[in-house]
């Protein structure tokens, strides 16, 4: 899949910008704070209905304006054209998402239609942050490839919230909620087992993909690994997983009542990342963290490419400033050829020696929220 055009209006610091992208690499160049990442964020709106990091639609609305809009043209591998438009109006509380002028709802049905992989400094917590960051990463990747997983995840989260409310009320009111609790356990078990089983399958397949993506960047001197550690050591099937979950749930009932929240289930899972057998979170260098993150993101790319019918877009935000020259070169060598890629950078020097600019590889110079001629931008 390719994004051939993009139009932004009143989005962040862009009053009105228009792009015709190349089929391979698209370099977005400019000094800090000029509006490069904002362009990737707009692409995120088209693919995922939302920003990959902003907390609300209101914050991306250009200061002092009343509405924003992004419009893009996606061309699928089979040549089908889809015009996507996102519109937000300050007066309305909800934004609207259109595919070929038809409003689409709920937004969750868009996930996976226009697959995208984004790697930005905003994602650093995946390797350095708490377990919830890694769960979110895994959930996001699996959800893009499976709407059944996404549905199960949304229902599971709501079940946990409902169930926690019962536990909390019971703790405060000092009463026994059994009977009520059991009414929610069935769904906890059903979705809990589905999610756990699918996460396990995901990691089993993802290990190899991560391996080869990582090696694309660093050669074979470093061995990356990803281990899934759910509530149970091992289980043979979804049914088996459900049985184990049930046993643990019963065993932990007293403790849950004491604490006032649900203690067992995939909302507590951990994914452990290691390099050469050492826990990345505890022992990894900054360079290893960055390389691992790019490895994960490339892994995500190949995972989605295999499972979706379309090749995802690849958005790389400020990656090249943080990798060493050898790793940057290796990355550049292949990203533009595996998919349509959008790369932001403050410096063109990484790219000039390796990228030949023509109609498939394009450069855009950004200054103060506008696309400007090259001469107006000083890029080292």
């Amino acid at each position: 899949m390719r994004l051939t055009t993009l139009r932004l209006q009143n989005f962040r610091n862009h009053a009105e910008s228009f792009f015709e992208f190349g089929n391979n690499a698209n370099l977005i160049l400019g000094e800090n704070g000029q509006g490069k990442t904002n362009i990737l964020e707009a692409i995120s709106y088209l693919c995922l209905t939302k920003s990959f990091y902003a907390s609300s639609d209101a914050v991306v609305l250009r200061l002092g304006t009343e509405f924003f809009e992004q419009e893009g043209t996606f061309v699928s591998e089979s040549g089908n054209e889809n015009k996507v438009r996102v519109a937000y109006d300050k007066q309305q509380t909800q934004k609207a998402y259109f595919i070929n002028k038809k409003s689409v709802e709920p937004f969750s049905t868009v996930i996976g239609k226009f697959p995208v992989v984004i790697c930005s400094p905003e994602h650093n917590p995946i390797t350095s942050g708490g377990p919830e960051e890694r769960r979110r990463f895994a959930d996001f990747v699996i959800s893009q490839a499976s709407s059944v997983y996404l549905k199960s995840l949304m229902e599971y989260r709501r079940v946990i919230k409902q169930r926690n409310k019962i536990l909390l009320d019971a703790r405060i009111g000092n009463m026994n909620p059994s009977g009520l609790l059991e009414s929610w356990d069935e769904q906890l078990l059903q979705h809990g087992a589905t999610l756990t089983h699918r996460r396990k399958l995901f990691v089993d397949g993802f290990k190899n993909i991560l391996h080869s993506s990582y090696h694309e960047l660093v050669g074979s001197e470093e061995e990356p690994q990803i281990e899934y550690s759910p509530f149970a050591e091992s289980f043979s099937s979804e049914d088996d997983c459900r049985r184990l979950l049930k046993t643990l749930l019963v065993q932990n009932r007293k403790e849950e009542l004491r604490v006032g929240s649900t203690l067992i289930g995939p909302h507590r899972d951990e994914f452990v990342f290691t390099v050469n057998g050492l826990d990345l979170r505890k022992y990894g260098s900054q360079g290893q963290h960055k390389t691992f993150l790019v490895g994960l993101k490339l892994g995500e790319f190949f995972y989605l490419k295999n499972l979706c019918n379309e090749t995802p877009l690849l958005l790389l935000d400020d990656i090249f400033s943080e990798l060493d020259e050898r790793r940057s070169k290796r990355l550049l060598d292949f990203v533009g050829t595996i998919s349509q890629t959008f790369i932001t950078s403050t410096s063109v020097k990484w790219f000039e020696p390796f990228v030949e600019f023509n109609h498939t590889n394009r450069k855009f110079f950004i200054k103060n929220g506008s696309v400007v001629p090259e001469e107006e931008v000083i890029v080292a």
Binding site: Q91, T109, S146, S147, V148, K151, E155, R158, V159, K161, Q162, R163, K165, I166, D169, G179, L180, E182, S183, W184, E186, Q187
Partner: protein, 197 residues
């Protein structure tokens, strides 16, 4: 602020209704102003009428103008069969099929701790009270939400020991819809609950 106090008051009343913001409230008020007087009286009367005439049926807790309601007092209906639903709209939906000849029981809502709705907020005691006697089957027809599901499970655990048959609606592909246009989650659930032929 509007210069005329009565317009301001009308806008205020409209915007207190669910789903109506000040903008729409203003639009509605302007519309009312433009209507001929008899039309406005008709609307006002309809509002007062529902409040005066509509009650809950003391047996099934559906809306009704008579007590007990027409369904509960209809002796051609099968009194050994009760279909339990969340709200009166569900009764309307099932009645439209013309296929169901039993009675109903309207719970009023579904269990939702987050919204502060527990079993005591639903007409469950009233249901238990009704079924002492000749009821042979209870159909649980909750919405396909996690709250509806929890309510189904709660009720089935409560009712099973009483000995009558407890059933629930099947989940599957909507009639007349193409497989290829059915959403994946519905399709997956239908696959899970497939039946032998």
């Amino acid at each position: 602020m509007y210069t005329a106090e009565s317009i301001e008051q009308l806008v205020e009343e409209f915007s207190s209704l669910p789903g109506i913001g000040r903008k729409s409230a203003h639009r509605l008020a302007m519309h009312i102003l433009k209507l001929p007087k008899p039309d406005v009286v008709k609307i006002a009367e309809a509002l007062v009428n529902v409040k005066e005439r509509i009650n809950y049926c003391n047996i099934c807790w559906n809306f009704t103008e008579e007590n007990p309601c027409r369904i509960c007092s209809n002796h051609n209906r099968n009194r050994s069969l009760i279909c339990v639903v969340e709200d009166p709209n569900d009764v309307i939906a099932i009645e439209k099929t013309h296929e169901y000849k039993g009675l109903y029981h309207v719970l009023g809502d579904a269990l939702s701790p987050l919204d502060g709705i527990g079993p005591e907020d639903l007409k469950i005691k009233e249901l238990l009270h009704r079924i002492e006697g000749s009821v042979q089957e209870i159909i649980l027809a909750m919405n396909a939400s996690i709250e509806g599901e929890a309510t189904t499970i709660y009720l089935s655990r409560l009712l099973k020991p009483l000995g009558m048959k407890i059933t629930r609606l099947a989940r599957g592909i909507p009639v007349g819809s193409d497989l290829e246009f059915t959403d994946e989650a519905t399709l997956a659930r239908a696959l899970q609950s497939r039946t032998e032929v």
